[in-house]
Symmetry: C2
Subunit: 161 residues, 2 copies
């Protein structure tokens, strides 16, 4: 139950791309140097971000990456879902998962209720928890973190340039 390193790389890379003083088209060399990860590997991650419309990429000399939309419109949830996927975190694997309701019905000879009772109550709780997580991640954007960094005095030297 851990976020992958790729998510870490992606978030930090985007944060770098969002720095206001930077020219557009930041190359993979600069990014990978910054994050201390190989160009090869980071490329894969950036490709995913591109395919999902988070960044734009320009090949060729002086090419590189830039945000595809304003940093305030890139939420943590966006990034997490691109990298980690969109399946739910918990899925009840039990074919009798709906036992909480079905047990009784089977023994009664009744038909399983197909409506909304056929939901696993355990899964329901776990999904509720995931929803809380998503809500929070949706409220935080690349821009909001950048703002906090600037406010704390980070990136000052860069701003001076």
């Amino acid at each position: 139950m851990q976020y992958s390193k790729s998510t870490d790389y992606a978030l930090h890379a985007l944060l770098h791309l969002a720095r206001p003083e930077l020219r557009n088209n930041v190359g993979i060399k600069e990014l990978s140097g910054m994050l201390e990860v190989s160009e090869s590997y980071l490329s894969k991650i950036m490709s995913k971000l591109r395919q999902d419309g988070i960044v734009r990429a320009v090949p060729g000399a002086n090419g590189g990456y830039e945000l595809a939309r304003p940093a305030k419109d890139i939420t943590f949830l966006d990034v997490v879902q691109v990298i980690e996927g969109r399946q739910q975190m918990f899925e009840c694997s039990n074919s009798r998962s709906r036992q909480h309701r079905l047990l009784a019905e089977e023994e009664d000879g009744r038909e399983p209720a197909p409506s909304r009772g056929s939901e696993c109550l355990v899964e329901k709780v776990m999904n509720g928890a995931e929803l809380q997580l998503h809500r929070y991640l949706r409220e935080h954007t690349i821009q909001s973190v950048l703002d906090e960094a600037l406010q704390r005095g980070g990136f000052q030297a860069a701003k001076k340039r």
Copy 2:
């Protein structure tokens, strides 16, 4: 980023142990039959739950498992943490993780601020999200799910016995 099947098994097993009409000491056979998982594998999971004080186990004939404390005092968070571990879901792997603040300081020749600025802001957001998840999981217990199941008419046949 998925919960393991073990978490699924553990939660369902505990829910079964909490059923009010059952005698104490439910054997691994009954549990594994219920969950459609091998006795071997479920044993490992139950052992973990025992080591963490969630259930008690009695070996020998007519032995089995029972809850070690009232179902209302066993939260989803308890179970998730036993099975999935207690590490945080996100850890910033970047040695310059605190770049948001350090970059400026390095270039200024200042010393990195050791106080609380040395926290990765990305990690801070991710930890905040995890906190939301935990809060929700702590509010839901084996008993609360059991209550909902009973209310919906589950376990009726069992209650009749």
